[in-house]
């Protein structure tokens, strides 16, 4: 009998301890706790530490993530204001702002993500519809409004989902892509662009090289032509100077010069095979019959 009493006492003790333990709630830094009484929320606890409630099953503590959470969308195709399609992958950093509201209307993370996804896609769609493709990508930095768009989406989403007790801290685009066909076209265009640039380099290089070569040839010809011209002048000077020297000299005795020159000419022009017809009266033949010679000296008799 005593033993049965001891056991019952021990069991009762254990049960009481159990109930006492459920009166304590340890709230972590990472949690919100909503205390419900038979399904109805009675208390919201945002501060960490030790708190009290009525024991189980009178009151139950429901825990929710207090930290900032991340939701990422898949790749989704959108249309910009100027009818161009773009594929966007985005993310939101969100947080429970009102635990009680969250408990009432959302309850689970899956539900929250569903709400976020729907709202996000709708808001991005409408934002992109008001922008042009050049607001997303352009070499003019002032045109690009990506950050502005991200801020607008954040603000708009916060308006919409405030009633769910959720707050968006930050929305961002994690990837921009072009639809598949467009990408292939882009590749082809890139190849064509590069080929054009390569051809330009080659052509320009060749053009410059040709120019250098032809200029070099031109200069070379110029140098030689100049030299030739100078040479002709020098030669001319030489000719002129020598002519002057000759003329100076010959003018001292012009008849002598003429005689010598003419005789020289005879030497050249009268050669073998030339026949000359001479008169017997010619000076050269003067002494041929011996008479003139004799008469000069006066010694020998004239008649033969």
């Amino acid at each position: 009998m005593r033993r049965h009493l001891k056991i019952s006492a021990a069991l009762a003790g254990a049960v009481i301890i159990f109930f006492i333990i459920t009166c304590f709630i340890t709230v972590d830094e990472v949690n919100y706790v909503v205390v419900t009484q038979f399904g109805k929320p009675v208390k919201t606890i945002s501060e960490s530490g030790l708190h009290f409630k009525y024991p189980w099953p009178g009151q139950i503590s429901n825990r929710f993530e207090k930290r900032k959470q991340l939701y990422e969308t898949p790749l989704i195709e959108f249309y910009t204001g100027d009818q161009k399609n773009i594929v966007v992958q985005s993310f939101v950093c969100w947080q429970i702002s009102d635990p009680l509201e969250y408990f009432k209307s959302v309850r689970t993370v899956q539900m929250a993500e569903q709400i976020l996804d729907d709202t996000l896609v709708a808001v991005i769609g409408s934002s992109l519809g008001q922008l042009k493709m050049s607001n997303l990508i352009s070499v003019e930095p002032e045109d690009v409004k990506v950050q502005e768009m991200e801020n607008n989406v954040t603000t708009e989403m916060n308006e919409t989902i405030k009633s769910y007790g959720i707050r968006i801290c930050r929305m961002g685009i994690s990837r921009l892509a072009l639809p598949e066909d467009n990408v292939r076209a882009v590749y082809q265009r890139m190849i064509a662009d590069r080929t054009t640039i390569a051809n330009e380099y080659r052509a320009l290089g060749q053009e410059k090289a040709d120019k250098i070569r032809s200029e070099a040839d031109k200069e070379r010809n110029l140098i030689i032509a100049e030299a030739n011209k100078k040479a002709e002048i020098i030669k001319g000077e030489g000719d002129a100077e020598s002519a002057r020297i000759y003329a100076d000299a010959y003018s001292q005795a012009p008849e002598l010069f003429r005689l010598l020159r003419t005789l020289d000419t005879y030497k050249k022009m009268l050669k073998d095979k030339t026949t000359i017809i001479m008169s017997s009266e010619s000076e050269l033949l003067k002494y041929l019959d011996g008479s003139t010679y004799m008469t000069e000296t006066g010694e020998i008799d004239k008649g033969n």
Binding site: E29, G49, V146, R194, A231, E232
Partner: protein
Amino acid sequence: MTADKQNEFRSELSMLRRSLRSIIIGLVIIIVIAYPLTGFYLIKTGETGIYIKFGRIIDDRIAPGLHYSLPRPFSRIIKVETGAVHRFQTGFGADLAKVDELESDLGPLQNLEYGSFIIPYCITGDKNVIHLKIIGKYRISNPSSYKFGAKNPERLAILMIQSAIIDCVGRLDVDTVLTSGRKVIQNTILESARKSISDLDLGITVNSIEVKSTRPPGSVAMAFKDVVDARSEAETVQHEANSYKKQIIPEAKAIAARIINEADSYKTNRITQAEGQSKKFSLFAEQYEKNRTLTCMRIYLKSMAEIMPSLQKVILESGEKGNNIDMKFLISDQ
């Protein structure tokens, strides 16, 4: 059972009960002593401790060393590596190893329907497409913000950096991104990352952002390389032309010098020759002045002596005798 056996059994049972009791008492004593000792904990160098009691942060900057706290489940110690520099990698598909891996699983990605979706790329401001890899280094600067601020701070940081990359690269042209823009991109993204991360209070500080590699997509890489080749070819061709020029001009100058030299020596020769000849003539003229007739005759006869021998001569009688010349006689002599 007999009475004896009952007695035996009872005494054995009580012995068992007694030894069981002493074991239990022993265990309780051990637990009572050992349990509080579990409150000791060690923070290593490079770590920071966060002391949490009943869920609340009491101290979030516990320095390295040996400390004591209430044992579990009353308190909890979280250790955070604040000393180490952590590293992350992000970007858009510049990891060639990953590409190879994917291609070995899925086949050549160019032919796949969603080839370009599987390997991410980044769009440049002039609607070209490139791959880009970024390495970031960061430190945990605020342990409690890091642990209790966001659920997945690293992933969040990486996504915000990707957003910064999209924004930055979307403003630049492809050549800048692939070549000279590296520094600009790094600085812009570092600044943007730091701001976003501190706005969200993630408790991490980014030390550096490095663009590890950028490359054009595989299918266009050849065309990009060809541009580089073309540029160096253009330079080579110009270089060759310049050496041609360097060679040809001195050659021309040498030829020019030669031409001038030849002309000079021609001039000198002509003048010298003229001087010689005219000197010779002058001397001769002096002699001629002394006795003209004699000199002339002498020259004349000397010349005739040279000329006449080789000529065919026909001597005719003078005009008084008559003008009839026997032509036959003439011709047959020839």
